[in-house]
């Protein structure tokens, strides 16, 4: 549905996006990840028609984003980064304004407004000016604006940034629901969001694509480690030595200083991705007569994949 072909965009001498190519299929939810300044927002700005490519081509539903800009813009609902809004209008006025500009027939204005108010939870703030609303409510108004004309394609740039944890959960649930019916591009640097909601993930770094695939395939491809957090009461050195001797244990670290005998020691055991050492650890503790106080497993974290791929960022 969306084809990006060798997209390049420069801001003067700065190359923000360098020959990026990818496709988004109909009905797919694509997570667009990258560190700040990687080129995510710039790419979105080209797709939505805010700026033209310096080089390359973007096709939305086989329509060129530059040549057939008006038609492309009709198909897209966009929530820009920073969610710009008109502060002197109230949500109802604003949504009606957007509907008029999108060519929605006036007979549909009220029912659609009602639906948006319901979906985005705006009923309590309808008569307040947007300037008076909290960030969470403003974000919901921005989301409502993007959806009100029922577009096939939704592009959301950092939709949950700055929201409190409750609001984040609500917005994420909404996004997940939307993803069922629409093609959605979610631009973010919050990794857990992507893991939960996306069919596919693109990681961009310094203007170039660093990874492209499903969350599972990326996890499999990455050389990450599973981690096992254990707390064992027993002679520290012996415990450590036995843990290290476990088949499949790649590394054993002690996050805290466990010194002396019979003091509960905390250890982190790293193993190859997919190797589950919980039973061996349990058996080890039982056979030696030690006490197992905590056993917790953590699979390869998306954060690690992300950091590996964008590692040179902070150098």
């Amino acid at each position: 549905m969306i084809e990006v072909k060798n997209l390049t965009r420069n801001y003067g001498p700065t190359k923000a996006v360098v020959s990026v190519s990818f496709t988004v299929n109909t009905g797919e939810v694509l997570g667009f990840l990258g560190p700040n300044g990687a080129g995510k927002t710039t790419t979105m700005k080209v797709i939505t028609g805010f700026m033209p490519p310096t080089d390359g081509q973007v096709l939305v539903d086989n329509l060129d984003v530059v040549e057939q800009s008006l038609e492309v813009r009709r198909k897209i609902g966009y929530l820009p980064e920073n969610n710009p809004l008109y502060h002197d209008m109230n949500p109802l006025e604003y949504l009606t304004f957007c509907q008029r500009l999108r060519g929605v027939p006036s007979s549909e204005h009220t029912p659609r407004n009602r639906r948006m108010v319901e979906m985005c939870g705006l009923s309590e703030v309808l008569k307040k000016d947007i300037g008076e609303l909290s960030k969470g409510y403003r974000q919901r108004v921005g989301l409502a604006q993007a959806m009100v004309h029922d577009p096939d394609i939704l592009i959301l740039d950092e939709p949950t940034v700055g929201l409190d944890p409750n609001q984040i959960v609500e917005i994420r649930a909404l996004i997940k629901e939307l993803g069922r019916a629409k093609t959605l591009i979610l631009c973010t640097h919050i990794l857990s969001e992507v893991e939960v909601a996306c069919d596919r993930v693109l990681i961009i770094n310094r203007g170039k694509i660093a990874a492209d695939g499903t969350p599972d395939s990326l996890r499999a491809a990455a050389s990450g480690r599973d981690r096992l957090f254990v707390e064992i009461r027993g002679p520290a050195d012996a415990v450590r030595a036995s843990l290290e001797a476990l088949s499949g244990a790649v590394r054993v670290a002690a996050p805290s200083d466990g010194s002396g005998d019979d003091v509960a020691g905390r250890f982190v055991i790293e193993s190859a991705s997919g190797k589950d050492l919980r039973e061996p650890v349990f058996n080890l503790v039982r056979d030696n007569g030690w006490t197992l106080l905590e056993l917790r497993r953590e699979v390869v974290r998306f954060e690690d994949i992300f950091r590996q791929l964008t590692a040179d960022e902070m150098k």
């Binding site: 028609g49 700026m51 813009r73 897209i76 820009p80 008109y86 008029r100 500009l101 999108r102």
Partner: protein, 238 residues
């Protein structure tokens, strides 16, 4: 198409009148005009709008018109709402036209409110109807031209103050053109005179509506509105 322009116009007008802007501008404008009108009337004893038309209001325009237009595009750039507007399925022309129509509306309200003066004159004496109509038409066209200039300068920057000052300066140039003619050689002076706003205004104010004067104002409006469109970083220009 045109409907979108009207939607924008309506939104901007609502914005003007929801904030102190419109009220402050209209009040101050009318106060200043009222003062000069009344002062002149009693001093001279003549039913005369000529001063108001030829000097007071044009000078007032220098300040008030950039004040009306200064936030129109610069605010959108600064708050980021321009990104939203430009990604909606509307043409740049519709956005600019809508904003421009709103400013014309404000200008028209100011001029209509000032009808109090000719009505006072009509009650006191016997003013020349033709000159009045000509004067107001000229003022409206002059204001319309200046508003287009102001809209353009608003698009040049994110900063409203800079928009105001550059609008003021550019309008001032057009305003001054016919007053500096004496410094220029013959042929250049003729060209400058044709380009000056006051020259065409005087023509219309005399009661003679010549197409050359209309074309002048229309060209000014079209050129500056086109330039204003250009400032919106549209996708058409790389």
């Amino acid at each position: 198409m045109f409907a979108n322009a009207l939607t924008f116009a309506q939104k901007e007008l609502r914005s003007f009148f929801n904030s102190p802007v419109a009220y402050v501008i209209l009040t101050l404008f009318l106060l200043i005009c009222g003062w000069f009108f009344a002062a002149g009337l009693f001093l001279v004893g003549q039913a005369d709008m000529r001063d108001l038309f030829s000097s007071i209001i044009p000078i007032a325009y220098l300040f008030f018109i950039p004040a009306i237009t200064m936030r129109l595009i610069s605010e959108e750039k600064k708050s980021g709402t321009l990104e939203l507007l430009v990604t909606l399925p509307v043409r740049d022309a519709e956005i600019i036209l809508g904003k421009y129509l709103a400013t014309l509306g404000l200008l028209a309200s100011a001029l209509v409110l000032s009808f109090a003066y000719p009505m006072t004159l009509a009650w006191l004496g016997d003013p020349d109807g033709g000159a009045l109509v000509g004067g107001y038409l000229g003022l409206f066209l002059m204001g319309a031209g200046y508003l287009a200039i102001g809209l353009f300068t608003s698009g040049l920057t994110q900063n409203q103050i800079v928009a105001f000052i550059s609008g003021f300066m550019l309008i001032f140039v057009f305003f001054m053109l016919d007053k500096v003619l004496v410094f220029f050689p013959g042929p250049v002076a003729t060209v400058l005179e044709y380009l000056s706003v006051s020259y065409h205004f005087e023509n219309i104010a005399r009661g003679v509506v010549d197409t050359r004067d209309l074309i002048y104002y229309l060209s000014m409006i079209v050129v500056f509105l086109f330039l204003a469109m250009r400032t919106m970083e549209s996708r058409r220009w790389r």
